[in-house]
Symmetry: C2
Subunit: 334 residues, 2 copies
Amino acid sequence: MNEKTSTLEQVAREAGVSPSTVSRILNGTAGVKDSKREAVERAISKLSYQPNKAAQALASGRSMTIGVLTQNIASPFYGECLEGIEKGLSGTGYTPIFANGHWDAKEEAHRIALLISRQVDGLIVLTGGVTDATLVEHARRIPIIVTGRQLQAPNLVSFWLDDAAAAREATQHLVSQGHQQIAHIAGPLDHPDSQARLAGYKAALQAAGLAIDERLIAQGDYSEMSGVLAVSQLLAARVSFSAIFAANDQMAYGARLALYQRGLRVPEDVSLVGFDDLPHSTYLAPPLTTIRQPTFDMGIAAAQTLVDMLLGKAPEPPEMALELVVRDSTRRLR
Amino acid sequence: MNEKTSTLEQVAREAGVSPSTVSRILNGTAGVKDSKREAVERAISKLSYQPNKAAQALASGRSMTIGVLTQNIASPFYGECLEGIEKGLSGTGYTPIFANGHWDAKEEAHRIALLISRQVDGLIVLTGGVTDATLVEHARRIPIIVTGRQLQAPNLVSFWLDDAAAAREATQHLVSQGHQQIAHIAGPLDHPDSQARLAGYKAALQAAGLAIDERLIAQGDYSEMSGVLAVSQLLAARVSFSAIFAANDQMAYGARLALYQRGLRVPEDVSLVGFDDLPHSTYLAPPLTTIRQPTFDMGIAAAQTLVDMLLGKAPEPPEMALELVVRDSTRRLR
DNA sequence: CTGAAAGCGCTTACAG
DNA sequence: CTGAAAGCGCTTACAG
């Protein structure tokens, strides 16, 4: 064990050329006589040479890596987006490096600093609580894409979606089906998107001339378990409702289980709407009506936009939107 | 934009000491007079200095990173394990770097080579089709942990669980509830674990003196959709069954939806068992009886064992086992 | 306890 | 088209 790997210098010696030439062949910089190229390629495969990325990064000043800050790699919500980023980066020469912020602004700032000390050439920040100021500061050194907020700054592009409008549309969908008693399971209120979804819910009720009853608003934290508890809370309040709009799919899953355990059928007794359209939502029984987030496409777009910036091109972030997907968990009130 | 970061040399100048001293303070190597330490620490925070990891890796020969090869970061199955690895590594100074193999042996080998060229100090390989020989070869240079196979080699530790025994237990559970017509939804048969689970299913039937009816074995590919299709296929075969054992939870989810769509209740009409115990399975309606994989714990163990190897300690991989978790999707046949 | 110096494995102006 | 040389930002024997 602990064998040494071969170096560029050994390849050069083996091929009878200078290290500079090997480097140029490796990087496709400048033309090189065919005979030498072949000799070098033979030497490379003979020694099964792999360039040392750390040395390349140090010498060139570019690591060819992109830092990606998520909150929680294991969450189904981020998974889709990471796949998109990987896809968007494939073929560009850049490799993603993932880090977890764990929904903690301090931790996020720390992880970003760590990514930067790893010499990432660009940064993709997926939501989170790190301050705008921190991002703007980092953008002075490397290009940044950030999702889930609106932020204007040089060398930084933000992707933002209108959560309030989508929440309003989701609620409006229930209203249009004749529901008048519509409960809401809110997400953590320190998340801007939870606030927006709650606001959209209220706006839709008001627009329909329906009263907002605080007893029909339960507080969750985006976890499945909190969806279960929210339904208990709602039922305990003894204000009847025929529909629930949950601020994310995971809480909708929890709500669905809680209803099931109490013998309440979806959608016969209670219509249910989620938010996110996680991959699993199609497979819920019944399939869940929800707001589709373009997470995968956003991952692709984030990657491509960042690469454009790295290449000095003007970034052209595509338009993306949230959309209501009607499936079987909602039905007209009879 | 493109500001320069500060370097160790600048810190040294600012603090009025030599670069060597700054380096020693950074690494805790050798003692240093308090007055100098303070001066250096002041300089570091004044310049908000962050060491360049690429340079550190090059100079020291250690990158303090661990390569982690998964098949699919976005899958709920790997997510848990990655969380475990992150947790097991936290506080050790090592950072994980994730790569996706996409269930393609060629791609896996390529990703591993890429991780190694990134100078990772160790490797964790989560299942996959890369050959034993490739792993053994790489283990000559860096320590490796591999899951999902039994492999003996120097500088390499493998974690293996007895899928066949667990599948047998799952099936036996159904038998003990009086089920005699038990269907199986198999996983992709080029996966060793799918084969083992199928074998365990058959073994349990034989042990119970029940016939193996090939019409009750449907072929899936571990995806939810294939679970949906498998149920169609099973139903089309017109051989009655009162229970289904799916080779993974995702296919069980698909099966659950397909049964729902046909008006078949779980567990009243059909009992359902999965395999994996994904986080979501607790929230299925009804909560799914399944085989629990210690994915999170395995992630922790993989990380700790690898760090032990890196520290020159004798690795002591803990014992881990699969276990049946009985929830509400199975019931005694009446 | 501390510094000067060599070296890690590359890239890239600079010459030719 | 190609090579010699300097340099990227660190670490670490080697001296003292």
